[in-house]
């Protein structure tokens, strides 16, 4: 029944294990790309009003630090929180972003 090997299979198996072991973490949208030009492996993302606790939770689980960078887009400054590691031989990259102003608002609300 197999017609040819599928490159995403390894990433899919890793994702199954990842979600089994860290099922209590905030759910993310997951992408498994087949293109060499894009980050191979697993890419996680999602829309969160304040992504910092989500990124921190995944970073803690995976044993790495969150890398925070700012970038301009459409006259707005955004902040990206990236978690990048290799987990069970599969690259896992989680990128969450939001407008910088949203973080100030959430800090005031808190």
């Amino acid at each position: 029944m197999k017609n040819n090997p599928i490159r995403q299979h390894g990433a899919a198996v890793a994702l199954v294990q990842l979600l089994e072991e860290f099922g209590d973490l905030p759910p993310l949208t997951w992408h498994l790309s087949n293109r060499e030009s894009l980050a191979s492996g697993l890419s996680g993302g999602g829309m969160f009003p304040d992504p910092r606790p989500v990124a921190a939770a995944w970073a803690d689980a995976l044993g790495v630090a969150v890398v925070e960078t700012q970038f301009p887009y459409d006259d707005t400054t955004y902040v990206q929180f990236a978690v990048d590691t290799v987990w069970r031989d599969v690259r896992v990259r989680i990128c969450l972003s939001c407008p910088l102003a949203a973080l100030s608002e959430s800090a005031v609300a808190a």
Binding site: M1, N4, H9, V16, L28, L32, S33, N34
Partner: protein
């Protein structure tokens, strides 16, 4: 109701089995859409429409469920291990970019009232209608005005930016003036 983990397990099983009806997929995605977690994949390779439907045909025949098509996005559903998923194909947008000016004169093509024509498919030069008509008149010219050169059929050649004989490939700025020969043509 599917959860991310059940969808991931179904996807891993699907990719491990690699059934013959499954087309190559560029990106698989497990995402939440209006409180429902879905498994979807983008058909690989950005194929043209005919090829896309050819690639998706085995899936359509197998699922027995009518695919959806809103004119832009085609979604073909499937089920695997009790989980519903879909492979989608986005029709490419055909963009016909109009250049700022006519390819053979300074006429601004975007100006109101200026008509233009494209001399072929994508990437072909675009010229204003007066240039088109002028060229057409010259294309009909058949008698070469240069006696020693014999009869020529002049054709305005954009690569050479001059008039080229369809027979001998000679290029001239003006086919009616024998002194304006600029160069022999280098292309067939």
């Amino acid at each position: 109701m599917s959860t991310p983990s059940t969808l991931a397990a179904a996807l891993a099983s699907l990719l491990d089995t690699a059934p013959s009806w499954l087309p190559q997929v560029d990106h698989w995605e497990i995402a939440e859409d209006t409180d429902t977690w879905i498994l979807s994949g983008q058909l690989a390779g950005d194929p043209r429409e005919a090829k896309a439907f050819w690639l998706l045909a085995p899936m359509m025949e197998r699922s027995g469920i009518t695919h959806s098509d809103d004119g832009r996005l085609v979604k073909v559903p499937f089920t695997w291990d009790g989980v519903a998923g879909q492979v989608w194909y986005l029709r490419p947008v055909e963009r016909w970019v109009v250049p700022e000016r006519c390819a053979t004169c300074p006429t601004l093509l975007a100006d109101v009232g200026n008509q233009f024509v494209r001399l072929g498919g994508h990437g072909a030069p675009v010229i204003c209608v007066p240039c088109r008509d002028r060229m057409h008149e010259r294309w009909i010219v058949t008698a070469c005005p240069v006696p020693e050169a014999g009869d020529h059929n002049w054709w305005y050649s954009l690569p050479h930016k001059g008039w080229q004989c369809t027979e001998c490939r000679m290029v001239r700025m003006d086919p009616s003036d024998s002194k304006t020969m600029v160069r022999p043509a280098v292309t067939a």
